[in-house]
């Protein structure tokens, strides 16, 4: 997309940074770093970030938004992940909640590349004490963003 197509869009603060249009880059969770005092994002970048927020928020942890989040991180925290299949199963179950939450909070007037369509777990790597997951998020515009999230877990 041309950058001019983003003029007039609403923006959000980038909490997960370093995303690139292509290539494999690990996201970092920073509101600011030594180089700048913060970045903003829009379009599919905002959608990917919303997905990640849902994925990493434990359902029930936001007292006054009890339906937000999913059980993905709870299962990681409780040590339920022993194999790659466990993570894939956990992701599939969590995707139901994430999809419902994301679709509920968006409207048809939102730009299509900010509307959630689907997501899939592209790859999972289990390391000693951590798991790295590759998630592809697809917007209603058909654009997709794949990101990598290292998650420290008890194995």
């Amino acid at each position: 997309m041309d950058i001019t197509q983003y003029i007039g869009r609403t923006v959000d603060v980038l909490a997960y940074r370093n995303g690139m249009p292509s290539g494999e880059v690990q996201l970092t969770a920073d509101l600011a770093d030594e180089l700048d005092s913060g970045q903003i994002g829009t379009g599919i970048q905002k959608l990917a970030q919303r997905f990640l927020l849902e994925l990493l928020t434990e359902k029930g942890s936001m007292i006054y938004l009890p339906t937000r989040g999913c059980d993905f991180m709870r299962q990681a925290r409780l040590g339920s992940w022993q194999t790659v299949m466990d993570i894939m199963s956990s992701f599939s179950a969590s995707l139901v909640d994430i999809k419902e939450n994301l679709i509920t909070e968006q409207s048809s007037s939102d730009p299509t590349d900010e509307q959630f369509s689907d997501a899939e777990l592209v790859n999972v790597t289990l390391n000693a004490g951590s798991a790295t997951i590759y998630v592809r998020v697809v917007s209603a515009a058909g654009t997709a963003r794949t990101f990598i999230t290292p998650i420290t877990v008890t194995l």
Binding site: V11, D12, A15, K46, L53, Y64, E105
Partner: protein, 548 residues
Amino acid sequence: MLTVQNLAELDTAKVTQTVEMISSLLQEDNPTIDLKRGVLHDLLLYYSGILATATQENIDRVRRSSSMLAISEDPTLAVDDVVDRVLSNYRITRKTGAAATGTATIVVSAKETVAVPVGAVFTTNGVSFKTLVPYTAVTSSANATSSSDRVLTARGDGTYFFTIDLTAVDVGTSGLIKKDTLLVPSLSILNFVKSYAASDFVDGTDTETNAQLVTRMNEGIAAKTLSNRVNMSATIKESFPTVTDLSIIGYGDEEMLRDQHSLFPVSGGGRVDVYVRTQQYPQLIGFTKTAILVEKTSDGFGVWQFSLTRDDAPGFYDITEIRPIDADDAFGSFAITSEIRSTNVANIAGELTPDLVTLAESTYSRYQTAMVRFKDTETSTATLTVGDEKTYSVSVRAMEDIAAIQTSLGSRNVRNYAGDVLVKAAIPCFVSLGFTIQGKPGENLPDANSIKIALAKYVNALGFCGRLHASALSDVIHNYLSGKVALSSIDMLGQIRRPDGTVKQLRSTEVLVIPNEASNMVTARTTIFMLDPSNIAISAQTVNIPEI
């Protein structure tokens, strides 16, 4: 707490509303930021909304805390310091509780010096009392060197006694133990035989609750003068804080008989009868009386007579015990053969004597007197002659402060110039209860003593209500029941001692109702229920409930 202590205690709807309001304000200020979802929403707006809601809640609570109506409707505001602050605007101050005090008699088996240290604890039914000063019981008055030294006195049966003052360890009415209640010392006392309350313990009061404070609010702002009922109530309660209930009978009330003393049977006004309760339960007052032998009976004993003056136990209800001075509580009492009450209206300096014509009018007031005859079945009169004297121990039931309140209201500066005021102890309906607690074998039975105290506290706080419902008592009892323990019907017995001396019996398993006998001055406006914990019989029964 007045302020929000936990962010989780906020109202969800209010949080949502606040988040939406902040979102709207920010969006108007900066239309380019996405506040519907995402990082700004979750990290900034969401928590900002919660904190703003908490702040608003604090503001609302402070605002509502200045209103007694709001306080009574919102338990989160019913914090003692908030209620105290608001009620101070109405000149109401919370009555703090006080520890009960009283005198205990210690009986020892030998005439030897005995020491009771400061802090010595005596216990009865889970209630503890302690000495505030060290006591030494000495063998003769010559050995007494300080005000806390006591002289051992012979009881006539080879034992000796001395008295000490005790104060309840805990504040509250639980320390109001009755005369002759056995006290168990927690320390070793030389030659100890037993110890017991020498008279009813007094002054134990609970700290006033918020509900009680609110009911006093009108009295706080009322002028302290003998005018209308609110003013009079405020006057009396300010001067006599122990007055818990009072009922004012005046012109137009059917119970008012004193204003019909003219030739014509109409009310003339100018007379006020004040019925008061100054204690949860009447105090047992013990004193000695010198009786005169008035008749020698054929069985070798005799009938003795003594008088109770209007100052012995002002406004007393009845005589509970007459016994030899060296007899203990196990002795019981000699039977009263006649009790004739009369009225002493001799002028008291500085007081206006109320207009009293009939005996019933003065009953339970400080002007009543009595002449009592009883048969002594222990003292042989073979060598005595009619007119001989002997000293006896006498106990009566009475409300405290009847004479003091009469003196206050009858004084020239306080009394209304258009009439007189007669203060009486509230007409008593002495209540006794009996019920059974039923449960499966092995069920935990409740503490019967706690139930008795709770029931007495409930009944004695009812005031002039006219009705005592078994369902309300059942509610109190159920607070102490757990598991599959249940309650039988409650047998309630009431005995109203009318001012004319006759007794009206009430009995029901549903409700005791004070009858309307205005001609006897007995109505719901003059009569109160009184329940002594010792008059509650609780039995336990095991019942078979089949396993299913």
